[in-house]
Symmetry: C2
DNA sequence: GGCATTTGCCTAAAGCTTTTAGGCAAACTA
DNA sequence: TAGTTTGCCTAAAAGCTTTAGGCAAATGCC
């Protein structure tokens, strides 16, 4: 009975890898046990239940994505920052589709508040400092940016733009240009 | 052994209702059988497998949503049409969260091509006729509108805007205003 | 180093979902 | 009314989740 050295952290990482390979939906405690060549029940010493596994993967992905975005934003401002932010997002989703899906898992409010989701919101606001927006416009803009990026990336990931021209990259660039223009020119709401 | 009168259509509708009640993820052949007070195996005379059930619910939701959008668009143009389109989308998602989720199910290309998803794309293009866009800008704009609406609605549905001010309705209106402004003023890409 | 405790993975088992196979009776069809 | 089709049934296998209890490896203490 050799000990494999399971920990919640190793399970989470392996779960994230599994998600990228087979899809977040297909990540099960059983599949993970097979991957470690260990009996299923053994994982329950490290995980409360399968929901906890999913939640952990989600939190891990949020954190990892936030780190990447933070890197991408470093030293940039204005449209440059906007594009870097958007591209970090899209690149992550393309490199790690399962983790990206995981990051969209609905978390309970307490968990969400303690997650890297908070950093995402802060970084979005940071980008908007390069534009001349005051509240409540800034919040509206935060929500719009989140919606566009999330929406585009998930439609693209779902194959929504497959086999259709023009190249999704062009639309992506066009959208970033548009948002920049919009944020620079939009009259204040009153 | 009373015959309940199961058909693929009744099962699909009941599945859609179930999705709204308990979430699309929780729609199982077993749960559906319980709802009809019938043994699980009986459903397999009407459904090839559980994937077919999910696909049918997705197609049903796409169709229903397209009908609503078509109604909303009737007789409208320009920003009026844009707002009607957006609101039909959001209203459907709020009234039928499970069906809306279902409509986002990834379909295989052939099924997608034969689905009401095609009508959705056509209607989006119809709205853009009220703005002065030529290809490829029009396609970029179709993708952007789809992304924003889908993204906003799914973030809102996932509780992303809960307990945060301002009211999501205000952001929604602000976003529609912004998109209208953008589509009216954006310089042609070249 | 030897011994006790803790920890990690195991077997066993129950409950749920999916899916297939084969059967019987109800409902059409002539 | 007899024959055929159809609809729901029982039975059963296979996979996932989760709990309970056990034994052996690792850890800590004298």
């Amino acid at each position: 009975m050799v000990r494999v050295g399971l920990t919640p952290e190793r399970l989470t990482l392996a779960g994230a890898e599994l998600a990228d390979e087979v899809g977040f939906e297909q990540v099960t405690v059983s599949a993970l046990a097979r991957r470690f060549d260990v009996k299923v029940a053994s994982l329950y010493s490290h995980l409360k239940n399968s929901q906890e596994l999913r939640t952990r993967i989600a939190l891990f992905a949020l954190e990892e994505l936030a780190d990447r975005v933070a890197d991408a934003l470093a030293g940039r401002a204005g449209k440059d920052a906007l594009a870097a932010f958007a591209n970090a997002y899209r690149t992550y989703a393309r490199e790690h589709p399962g983790r990206y899906d995981a990051a969209r898992l609905r978390l309970d409010p307490a968990t969400a508040a303690a997650s890297a989701g908070v950093r995402h919101a802060q970084m979005t606001r940071a980008i908007l400092r390069g534009y001349d927006l005051t509240e409540p416009d800034q919040t509206h803009a935060v929500r719009m940016l989140g919606s566009v990026f999330h929406g585009y990336v998930s439609l693209e990931l779902a194959g929504g733009f497959d086999h259709s021209k023009p190249d999704p990259q062009q639309s992506w660039d066009w959208i970033i240009d548009s948002l920049d223009m919009l944020l620079r020119n939009r009259p204040t709401d009153n």
